[in-house]
């Protein structure tokens, strides 16, 4: 079920009514039923996969709890990892692996036994990467002793089927979510106000900004060969903002819905466009994934404690892995690897800060004489540069679908786009690109993007809903009405799914 659908508009109040009506001991049942209904609505088959993941990790957790030695626990952890990563690999990466093996073998003229195409029409369960990572974090935490194994299957099933976060994050941890699920939750007016406002803010980002910018982003990628210079740059920025609003919009709705239910979910975004450097960016963008990768991969590899060369490798490796998590295609992996390379360069440059406390002279000067906003702009453009690749695979699919007689390689699209990006003495097709939807639509897009960033600048790191709710009645209601009017009047409602659903 999509958050931005009429179905959800009916589902949510009905769910809340049932959830708050039943006694405490039955609330988990409503959570599980709601979760399976929500997820099974995409396809009943997805619900079966969810059930398999739940059984596998519940069993692994419980068995680890019984084992006394770490060695024996490791076997059960392996079972959990094999189950989760096996599902993830089968549905998401098998086709990618198959294609790469085929191409590799073709170089040596060795035939590959799998007929082509074989796996490419397998349906990837919505949000399977989120589901598996959330569930996997539980078994790793049980293994590490961070979390106690859950003994009640129902509570554990409510954790894996916690519908606000299950398909698009934030990737929650059992130690945060499970204790809250077990508590009694009753309807609370103030909490409901906070939650609903946060949800509305999420809908605003998604329906008013992200889906509007999608017009321009689609055109940028579909006409990658003729658009160049400033048009590519602004288009790339639009894409960056689109992904941010789409994904953080979903997280806001998830956080808000959970809040209404009385459960606090971790923040997933903290004004990433105000990040002062690449490392800072990752503490603000998709926080639940970056902390997941930091906790379970980066620290496992030795984090910053390793030698300089190893740290650089670790940074690039984790970012490449992050890219692979985002999409089973090379442009995506390359996109994040490039971010990793930039982060490694920064680390190398700033190494003294971390390792010997004394920063290098050039870094000190850079840090001292560049204002915060300049740092933010540089960070944004470095990410924009890397994230141009983010969408290349999807664009390639769309272009090849529209013109099967003249297929293009992703590398051609990427090379052309980067080539065009650097021709900053031009702004080819800017008018056509901008006016494709008319001046008014463009003006509306710019206006609401400005509203978003001004709001983020004003609210700072505080939660927007807390600030709004603390205002006096007139101010509060003015904001309610303006937000609602913006969503209802200016939103785009054609059931567009969320960009991150494919991950």
């Amino acid at each position: 079920m999509l958050f931005n659908s009429l179905h959800f508009l009916v589902f949510f109040p009905v769910f809340c009514y049932l959830y708050f009506s039943v006694p405490k001991q039955h609330q988990w049942k409503i959570l599980v039923a709601g979760g399976y209904y929500f997820y099974g609505n995409f396809s009943p088959f997805f619900a079966i996969i969810l059930f398999v993941i739940t059984c596998n990790d519940f069993l692994a957790g419980k068995m680890m709890d019984k084992e006394s030695s770490q060695q024996k626990k490791k076997k059960w952890l392996f079972l959990s990892m094999a189950g989760n990563l096996g599902i993830l690999f089968t549905f998401k990466y098998l086709d990618f692996a198959d294609n790469n093996i085929r191409e590799l073998l073709a170089v040596f003229h060795i035939p590959w036994f799998v007929p082509e195409p074989y796996f490419n029409n397998w349906v990837v369960p919505v949000g399977v990467s989120f589901l598996t990572f959330q569930s996997l974090s539980y078994t790793i935490d049980v293994y590490k002793g961070v979390t106690k194994a859950e003994q009640h299957f129902g509570y554990f099933a409510s954790f894996t089927a916690f519908w606000p976060v299950m398909v698009n994050g934030p990737i929650e941890r059992a130690k945060n979510l499970l204790p809250q699920i077990k508590e009694e939750h009753r309807f609370d007016y103030d909490r409901m106000r906070l939650g609903l406002f946060r949800m509305a803010w999420g809908f605003f980002k998604k329906a008013v900004i992200a889906d509007r910018l999608a017009f321009y982003v689609d055109n940028l990628y579909l006409h990658y060969d003729v658009i160049s210079g400033w048009t590519t740059l602004i288009g790339g920025l639009f894409f960056f903002i689109q992904v941010y609003c789409d994904f953080s919009g979903y997280s806001d709705i998830a956080l808000g819905a959970a809040k209404v239910m009385g459960i606090d979910v971790m923040e997933n975004f903290k004004r990433p466009f105000f990040a002062k450097n690449l490392a800072d960016f990752w503490t603000r963008w998709h926080i639940s994934l970056s902390t997941w990768l930091t906790d379970y991969v980066f620290f496992y590899l030795g984090a910053y404690k390793a030698s300089g060369g190893k740290v650089i490798f670790n940074v690039i490796f984790v970012l490449a892995l992050c890219g692979l998590w985002h999409g089973a295609n090379w442009p995506m992996v390359l996109s994040f690897t490039m971010v990793g390379v930039f982060m490694a360069i920064r680390y190398w440059w700033q190494a003294n800060v971390v390792r010997i406390i004394k920063p290098s002279n050039t870094y000190r000067l850079f840090d001292k004489y560049f204002p915060d906003w300049a740092h933010s702009i540089i960070t944004i453009f470095l990410f924009l540069f890397c994230f141009l690749l983010f969408r290349v695979h999807t664009a390639q699919m769309a272009i090849n679908h529209a013109h099967p007689d003249a297929p293009v390689e992703w590398i051609t699209i990427a090379k052309t786009m980067y080539g065009n990006l650097f021709r900053l003495n031009t702004a080819a097709y800017f008018h056509e690109w901008m006016l494709n939807q008319g001046v008014i639509q463009f003006a509306i897009a710019i206006f609401f993007v400005a509203v978003l960033f001004i709001t983020e600048a004003i609210t700072g790191d505080s939660k927007i809903e807390t600030i709004v709710i603390s205002k006096d009645k007139i101010q509060r209601w003015t904001i309610y009405v303006l937000l609602l009017v913006s969503i209802v009047w200016f939103g785009i409602f054609n059931n567009t799914s969320f960009v991150y659903f494919q991950y």
Partner: protein, 360 residues
């Protein structure tokens, strides 16, 4: 607390409803469709030049050439100055909304309105959630659609879906859901309007032959669709024979005693009487190549008042309309077909008008 929540939700909904109504109040009824806007704005400016108007969907817009009909009528001593206000995709429900809108445009000279009986409450799914579709929905149109849909022969699941879509579209209209950017576009940036849709003779007629490579951005998908459908049709696709057989069966089996679809008859007669009260004569046209089965349309058409019916759908009487030579695609005539259609329509219309004049 729950009461307070419900109260606040109701309050904010009412507020939104009021604000939306205020915004919509400043919009003309035709603003959501660019072709309709072009045609109605032209008509509005020159309304008093015309004493007759054709309403309906593409079967009227693309087929009725007012110049031909006017000249035939004038040769027979009848003063007819007509304008084609048909717009693609307008079924019977939207046609009635168009009629309501048309009557609100001041034109003391308006004497004749032509309505088409060519569809039930149908819609193109791709139009849902677009201003073209949302903009015209009202309590009246929803009532009309909801009265027709349950009586149709489609399976219950489809009928329920249609009811839902019409109801939903009305809600979208009430709250201006996602439509305000297009309203602003209409108010402040009319560059998207293409006046060529008024037609070469400035009479609202624009056959499909002119349409290729001349479509709006919003209809871009139709560009290929039109071309494809024309090629399929011209290649002698057997689907054409299937459709023709269906039409033939409907006309052959029609005895004239069949019970018509009551809500459709009521809607048409209401329109007839409403116009009559204003001194306007309504003529009902049964066009050829309708998408809706003639076994549904024929009894409704048959139930219309005598002297107001122009029947042009019968494949036995008008086989040319169903031939490849005169067709554009499965459901439309080409320019040649449109000219023939207009002549045939004029032939039937003149005696009706003469009889009406003589009776006065």
């Amino acid at each position: 607390m729950l009461k307070k929540t419900v109260r606040n939700i109701i309050l904010i909904t009412i507020l939104l409803l009021v604000l939306s109504s205020v915004v919509r109040f400043f919009m003309p009824f035709y603003w959501g469709d660019s072709v309709q806007t072009v045609k109605y704005e032209y008509y509005k400016k020159h309304a008093e030049q015309y004493n007759a108007v054709y309403l309906g969907g593409s079967l009227e817009y693309r087929h009725i050439d007012p110049t031909i009909i006017d000249s035939v009528a004038q040769k027979n001593g009848i003063d007819l100055r007509s304008f084609n206000l048909g717009v693609d995709g307008h079924g019977i429900v939207q046609e009635m909304s168009d009629l309501d809108g048309l009557l609100s445009i001041r034109n003391p000279n308006l004497k004749y309105i032509f309505l088409s009986i060519s569809s039930e409450a149908y819609f193109f799914q791709s139009n849902l959630h677009t201003p073209k579709w949302i903009s015209w929905h009202s309590a009246n149109s929803t009532y009309r659609a909801w009265s027709i849909i349950p009586t149709l022969d489609n399976p219950v699941i489809f009928r329920s879906k249609y009811m839902y879509f019409f109801g939903m579209s009305w809600m979208e209209n009430l709250f201006n859901i996602g439509t305000v950017p297009d309203m602003l576009k209409y108010r402040f940036d009319k560059t998207y309007l293409d006046s060529s849709y008024i037609g070469k003779d400035r009479n609202g007629f624009y056959p499909y032959d002119y349409e290729e490579n001349h479509l709006f951005m919003e209809y871009k998908w139709e560009d290929t669709l039109l071309l494809q459908s024309r090629k399929r049709f011209e290649s002698g696709d057997p689907y054409s024979d299937t459709l023709n057989k269906e039409v033939l069966t409907s006309f052959t089996n029609f005895k004239g005693t069949e019970k018509p679809n009551a809500p459709m008859v009521k809607i048409c007669l209401d329109a007839y009487n409403k116009c009559k009260k204003r001194g306007i004569q309504v003529f009902f046209i049964l066009p050829p190549k309708a998408r809706t089965n003639y076994s549904l349309l024929l009894p409704v058409f048959n139930a219309m008042p005598e002297g107001s019916k122009i029947e042009l759908g019968d494949i036995r009487k008008y086989p040319k309309f169903y031939s490849i030579e005169y067709g554009y695609n499965f459901h439309h005539l080409n320019y040649k077909g449109a000219k023939l259609f207009s002549h045939e329509m004029a032939k039937q219309l003149v005696p009706l008008m003469k009889a009406q004049r003589d009776s006065l």
